[in-house]
Symmetry: C2
Subunit: 314 residues, 2 copies
Amino acid sequence: MTCKHVLALSGGVGGAKLAAGLAAVVAPKDLTIIVNTGDDFEHLGLTICPDMDSVTYALAGLNDTQRGWGVKDETWQTMAMLRALGEEGWFNLGDRDMAMHIARSWRLRAGETLSEVTAQLTRELGIAHAVVPMSDDPVRTQVLTEAGWTDFQRWFVGDQCVAAVSDVRFEGVPGAKPSPGFADALAREDLAAIVVCPSNPFLSVDPILAVDGVRAALAARRVPLIAVSPIVGGTSVKGPLAKMLAERGQAVSNSAIAHHYSDLLDHLLIDHADEADVSGLQARGLGVTVTMTMMREAADRARLAKEVLALAGI
Amino acid sequence: MTCKHVLALSGGVGGAKLAAGLAAVVAPKDLTIIVNTGDDFEHLGLTICPDMDSVTYALAGLNDTQRGWGVKDETWQTMAMLRALGEEGWFNLGDRDMAMHIARSWRLRAGETLSEVTAQLTRELGIAHAVVPMSDDPVRTQVLTEAGWTDFQRWFVGDQCVAAVSDVRFEGVPGAKPSPGFADALAREDLAAIVVCPSNPFLSVDPILAVDGVRAALAARRVPLIAVSPIVGGTSVKGPLAKMLAERGQAVSNSAIAHHYSDLLDHLLIDHADEADVSGLQARGLGVTVTMTMMREAADRARLAKEVLALAGI
């Protein structure tokens, strides 16, 4: 048996780009993309799964590359009318994006699992690869600020990440089982690599690691765990990672990423801009590849995906 | 006490026009608009109330007068994406209209009554008059066709009313109580008139009459019950009324309307085009007013409303 199955762990935007790159170069049967659901929340009676949708839209070619999130060719008529009706307007939902939330929500309420719903809706959008939630049990990320524990999206979107975060927790774990697709992928005999996409370790990857048994399964891995760093040029490309590291009193560097993943990590891909980090990372016993980690175009995504796969001999 | 409160019973489009006319000429405290909810249905996890929304949009000046239904300046992005996701596309929902269904649905699910939800959402749209569902208990109209009992919207929109209807029933009655606003209006000491708007008697008005106690309360009325006929020029202005009358073997005439309402009706306003019906109606002991019942403009609606009110001495 040729071992060539790739298990990718992804958060939203940055992670979704590498996930799309992997999907561009790996056959559907050889790739499982596990997506963080800690960002999910219930709003206006809809179950909204921002990271699942970012990955889905990226793989379907529907993502808005200018805005950096959501669906391209988007309009905002429903949201404007919701505001006119006095409904909460702090979380912006586009008209095309809204269809995803409506379809997912009624199906979940009818008893389908998030895995089943996602398989159905991604298939309809022409996605042949497996986009799989980390768990079918609800996990909800919360951040600790001066105002107390706050639901993730309230802080991330409602507060624009302004409040300092002193801690992060995941409501629902322990007790959240890996989704069937995640459990299967972890147990595959032909598994060749585990890829951690360039997502926020605290907010996007830690929820996946917090799912029951996942950290132990990864610790017992027989294949390389390869991460693409979300740090570029000594800061985070997008989102609050740099701010969170600073609030923890940590340097915004690849050493902090390596420190965070600790012995789960075998190899880290970092950007040319951070070449100075190489010796420190190697001193930790890590494999290091210096490359261009920014993914502006589809070609960047596929090239970076190939570099990751090559490290695992795929 | 001056008796001047008006209780109007309305279905969708035609009824909504007269309801808007009444709202244009009657002070908010002196008008209660009761709306048929038999057309309501659950679709894609949303509770959709077509007649409630037609009346609401007409009163808010948001109705699309070209299309004849829904919200003006409408777009259809969510619906197109729902179809791309493989969801049912037979019931067209606009992006602006969708906001109403989303807001109503989460509020109903959170435990608010349809009366409470409607009061909240109409107030937000600047409507000062009381738009009140006939009942807060679900009533669902079904039609009997060759295919058996069919949910109303499946036949009305899905089948475009093609199948012949041999019977109509209302799931949920008996057992559906009048909404608090309806019960209050029926019991008002200052009630001066009951107005039946030009809506389909079988599909839009009968469900209201079928609510527990309503038919008896109307039979015991001490004020005139005045209807505007939905027949113009020997046919129905819009919708399947003429077709349904023909399928019942009845002439498409004002006599059929009078026969249907029987002794609940005191006065019928009919169109100039149907002047030949006058003697037959008078022979039944009915008051008859011949006027222009088509409402093309806001001025027509207000003029007709004033004519109705004058008949009750208001």
